[in-house]
C-alpha cells in the first residue's frame, strides 16, 4: 500500500512508525453511510449528541465510499444487495475495515432463509462482529473500540516484509 513495501522490516524504526500510523488511523476513521435496516437507527443514535461518535474522530458519515475508511454494515443484506455492497467495498481506498453491526449482518440472525446472506463475511472480509438486535449505540461504540484495538495491534510493515 505504500511505505511498507519501500521500507521492509527495519526493527524499532518501523515499529514506532507503525504505532504512529495506527494511532492516526484509529483517530480519524470515517465511516461510510451504509444503513440497511433497523440497525441504522441505532447507528444514527450513536452519531447523535448523546453518544457522539465524533469523540473518536468519526463525526462524518461519508456518503461516498471513496472518502471512507470503515464500512458499518447495519442491517440484513439481501441477495440483491450483496453485489452493491461488494462494489462499494471495492471502491473504498485502502486501508479499509468492515464492522458487521447486529445479528443480521453478522450471521443472518433470525432471517435464516433463502433471501438473506447468512453473514456479510460471505462477500466482504469482516473485522468486528457486533451482537445485538439491534445493538445499543454503546454496543456499536464497543465494537468500534474493539476495532481500534485490532488496528493498533496491526504490524503491517512486518507483515508486508514477510510476504515479500
Amino acid at each position: 500500500m505504500g511505505v511498507e513495501q519501500k521500507l521492509g522490516n527495519m526493527g524499532v524504526v518501523t515499529t514506532t512508525l507503525e504505532d504512529v500510523v495506527n494511532w492516526s488511523r484509529t483517530n480519524a476513521m470515517w465511516p461510510m453511510l451504509f444503513g440497511l435496516a433497523c440497525c441504522a437507527i441505532e447507528m444514527m443514535a450513536a452519531q447523535a449528541s448523546s453518544y457522539d461518535m465524533s469523540r473518536f474522530g468519526m463525526e462524518l458519515m461519508r456518503a461516498s465510499p471513496r472518502q471512507s475508511d470503515l464500512m458499518i454494515v447495519a442491517g440484513r443484506v439481501s441477495k440483491k444487495m450483496g453485489p452493491v455492497l461488494r462494489r462499494l467495498y471495492d471502491q473504498m481506498p485502502e486501508p479499509k475495515w468492515v464492522i458487521a453491526m447486529g445479528d443480521c449482518a453478522s450471521c443472518g440472525g433470525v432471517f435464516n432463509n433463502y433471501a438473506i446472506y447468512q453473514g456479510v463475511d460471505e462477500i466482504v472480509p469482516v473485522d468486528v462482529f457486533v451482537a445485538g438486535c439491534p445493538p445499543r449505540p454503546e454496543a456499536l461504540i464497543h465494537g468500534v473500540l474493539t476495532l481500534h484495538e485490532k488496528v493498533k495491534a496491526d504490524r503491517f510493515i512486518a507483515n508486508a516484509a514477510d510476504k515479500k
Binding site: 448523546s50 457522539d52 445479528d103 451482537a131 454503546e138 454496543a139 473500540l145
Partner: protein
C-alpha cells in the same frame, strides 16, 4: 443595509453558540468511561441462574431451544446422580450453548423456562473478532458461585433433590 450588518448578524449567531456552550448542560455520555444504567427490563446477555444452595436451576429440558425464534440455543441433557449432582431432579444440561450473534434478545427463552434458570442480564458489550468467539458455552453463561462448597457437580444425600421443577407457593405467580 450597512457594511457592518453581516458582522452584527454573525456575532449574534456566534453569541448563541457561545451561550449554549457555556450555559446548557452537556448531554453526551462519554461511553467507555461513563456508562448509562440500563432500564430494569433491558434484555442483554444471558445468565444461567443457580438456587441459593448452589445447584443449577437449568434441568436441560430444551424448552428454551424450542422457543427460540432464531435457533440460537443448543442444549444437551445428561442424567444426574446423587454422587454427581448438578441440578435437582433427573437431568441437567451437560452442554448449553448460545450463539450470541444469532440471538435476537427477545426473551422467549426466559418465558419458556419452567425453572426460571435462564435470565437475560444487562451486559450489552458483545463484539467479537471472529464468529467462533460468539458461541458462549455453559461455563461462560453460568452464574459464578460465592463459595467453594457451592460448586457443581457435588455429592448430595440420596432422595432429597427429586423434584426438577420447584413446588410453587402460589400458582397464580
Amino acid at each position: 443595509m450597512g457594511v457592518f450588518d453581516p458582522i452584527i448578524e454573525l456575532t449574534k449567531g456566534l453569541g448563541e453558540t457561545l451561550r449554549s456552550f457555556l450555559m446548557e448542560p452537556t448531554v453526551t455520555v462519554s461511553y467507555p468511561e461513563e456508562k448509562r444504567p440500563v432500564r430494569p427490563r433491558f434484555r442483554g446477555r444471558h445468565v444461567l441462574k443457580r438456587y441459593d444452595n448452589g445447584l443449577e436451576k437449568c434441568i436441560g429440558c430444551s424448552l428454551c431451544a424450542a422457543a427460540c425464534p432464531a435457533d440460537a440455543i443448543f442444549v444437551e441433557a445428561s442424567e444426574n446422580t446423587d454422587e454427581k449432582r448438578f441440578s435437582p431432579g433427573e437431568r441437567y444440561a451437560s452442554t448449553y450453548e448460545i450463539n450470541m450473534l444469532r440471538c435476537i434478545y427477545c426473551g422467549f427463552c426466559e418465558d419458556a423456562c419452567p425453572t426460571e434458570a435462564i435470565v437475560l442480564g444487562d451486559n450489552y458489550e458483545l463484539s467479537f473478532l471472529n464468529r467462533r468467539d460468539a458461541i458462549y458455552s455453559k461455563d461462560m453463561l453460568l452464574e459464578p458461585v460465592s463459595s467453594e462448597n457451592m460448586l457443581t457437580p457435588r455429592k448430595v444425600e440420596a432422595g432429597v433433590f427429586t423434584r426438577s421443577v420447584p413446588e410453587m407457593q402460589n400458582p397464580t405467580d
